[in-house]
């Protein structure tokens, strides 16, 4: 994570996400998948092919791509279908866009009720016998049962969570890095899924995105760094208030 300053001098914290060897693996049509839209299987981050059996390598062999660590699905409209085997780059996103980021949260293991659900526990003194971090009562008398989903101690973390509506501040096309506002679930160097935001406030914010994706062998020549309009670039002199 890194600080970033706007032209008015405000500081924002930014997470760096690297797009590492992402390729489209397979196209699954609407009828085949049984959902509402077609799906595209995308894989990221190359990994050695020797730790899995040959049967697992079929998808990668069809696409002509080395074995990937993670394969995810993206629901995609029919006009945005991409041929399997195309590489995906960070330039697929543009600064000023809003994005949802999904990842597995940091695993905390078996945790008690105070850390896992934020219960207040009991006082440390004034006669409390062996009860300082316990949940207390778990149900009422009339219910005569414990409801399903009651908050109790258990394994915490290591589940998929999404942060919605994160702004993309800057894109580095040379190293394929996306600068995303705020924090993102997961530990450092963990695999993360980045999608266009589904929030209704940001529905129309994406003007002229590269559609269906940014092709590296196309005619467009992008500069090494793409900045949002409001970012203070370090090539400018210091900020002054008029």
């Amino acid at each position: 994570m890194m600080p970033i300053w706007t032209k008015s001098g405000e500081k924002h914290a930014v997470t760096l996400l690297k797009v590492q060897d992402c390729h489209v693996l397979r196209y699954v049509s609407k009828e085949e998948s049984g959902g509402k839209t077609a799906k595209l299987l995308v894989g990221g981050k190359n990994v050695s092919p020797f730790s899995k059996p040959e049967s697992a390598h079929e998808i990668f062999r069809e696409a002509g791509v080395p074995r990937k660590q993670k394969v995810t699905t993206f629901n995609v409209t029919d006009d945005a279908i991409i041929k399997p085997g195309t590489p995906l780059y960070a330039a697929h996103f543009r600064p000023g866009q809003f994005v949802d980021v999904t990842a597995k949260t940091i695993g905390k293991g078996f945790q008690g009720v105070m850390k896992r659900w934020g219960f207040k526990g009991q006082p440390a003194s004034h006669g409390q016998t062996k009860t300082h971090r316990r949940p207390g009562a778990i149900s009422t008398n009339q219910a005569a049962k414990v409801y399903r989903g009651k908050k109790m101690p258990g394994k915490m973390g290591n589940i998929y969570r999404t942060s919605f509506g994160l702004k993309v501040w800057r894109i580095n096309t040379k190293h394929d890095i996306i600068y995303v506002n705020g924090s993102v679930p997961g530990h450092t160097n963990c695999l993360v899924k980045v999608r266009d935001s589904k929030l209704p406030t940001y529905k129309d914010c994406n003007k002229n995105p590269p559609f269906p994706t940014f092709f590296a062998d196309g005619d467009e020549e992008l500069p090494e760094d793409l900045f949002d309009e409001e970012i203070f670039q370090f090539t400018d002199p210091s900020v002054t208030f008029a």
Binding site: W5, G9, K18, S238
Partner: protein, 246 residues
């Protein structure tokens, strides 16, 4: 020597001495701002490389002078609420923290009997100028104990003129022993964990010895805590010299 013609041998002047100014060369390359050195961790070095590119870019446009803890600095920042739109603060640097773009330094001064500390970010675009008024190192790297010292040690004249300094001279170390206010202090500075050499402890002997109970003499031999930065530093120095020397 037997000459060829019988005449005395031709006078050979001694070779000219080659003066290698080692001092100047050493001074330039020996200082590396501490925020360039990446901390020990599992982050990708690519992140630090990209951050350094941004830092170098900022340094090309805005001059960040070399300074240590104990120097007296004057910082002018852009302030939308001031009448001039800029505010100037003079103080002693008591602490330098953070790595990369978020590097900070804390300046302390006593203004009208009120101690004031301001934490500035080195790479913030609101800073208009940083001037070093007086160069002097202190015995410690963290002068937070000035909060519990007598206010005369933290007062710096706001209209102080910059003290002229010869280039290529070593930065003088001020070995002043600071006198403290009566206890309680904000931190127990006599404990060996802080390793402070710049305080004149006027505590009784038994209290100083009781404080040594918290010493951890095994820490300096702990191999897992070793972090050898010499190779990383050389690489970063080379990078800086190439980029900023242009």
């Amino acid at each position: 020597r037997v000459s060829s013609d019988g005449k005395p041998p031709k006078f050979q002047p001694p070779p000219k001495p080659v003066i290698i100014d080692r001092k100047t060369q050493k001074e330039e390359s020996r200082f590396l701002s501490p925020e360039f050195i990446p901390p020990r961790g599992r982050k990708d070095p690519l992140k630090y490389y990209i951050e350094r590119k941004d830092m170098i870019q900022r340094r090309k446009v805005f001059n960040i002078p070399e300074f240590y803890v104990g120097h007296i600095l004057a910082v002018t920042t852009a302030n939308p609420l001031a009448s001039d739109k800029c505010s100037r603060f003079v103080g002693i640097c008591i602490q330098r923290g953070g790595t990369g773009l978020g590097a900070t330094f804390v300046l302390r001064n006593v203004i009208e009997d009120q101690g004031v500390e301001i934490c500035y970010e080195l790479y913030s675009p609101r800073i208009q100028a940083i001037e070093v008024l007086k160069l002097e190192k202190r015995l410690d790297e963290n002068l937070m104990y000035l909060r519990d010292a007598l206010p005369e040690y933290s007062t710096v004249d706001v209209n102080m003129k910059p003290v002229p300094r010869m280039d290529h001279e070593e930065i003088p170390v001020n070995k002043v022993q600071v006198r403290m206010k009566p206890k309680p202090w904000s931190k127990r500075w006599e404990r060996p964990k802080y390793n402070i050499k710049g305080i004149k402890f006027e505590l009784p002997e038994h209290k100083m010895q009781a404080a040594q109970k918290w010493s951890q003499p095994w820490l300096e031999f702990d191999m897992l805590r070793e972090y050898d930065t010499s190779k990383i530093e050389e690489k970063i120095r080379k990078e800086l010299r190439e980029e900023l020397g242009k």
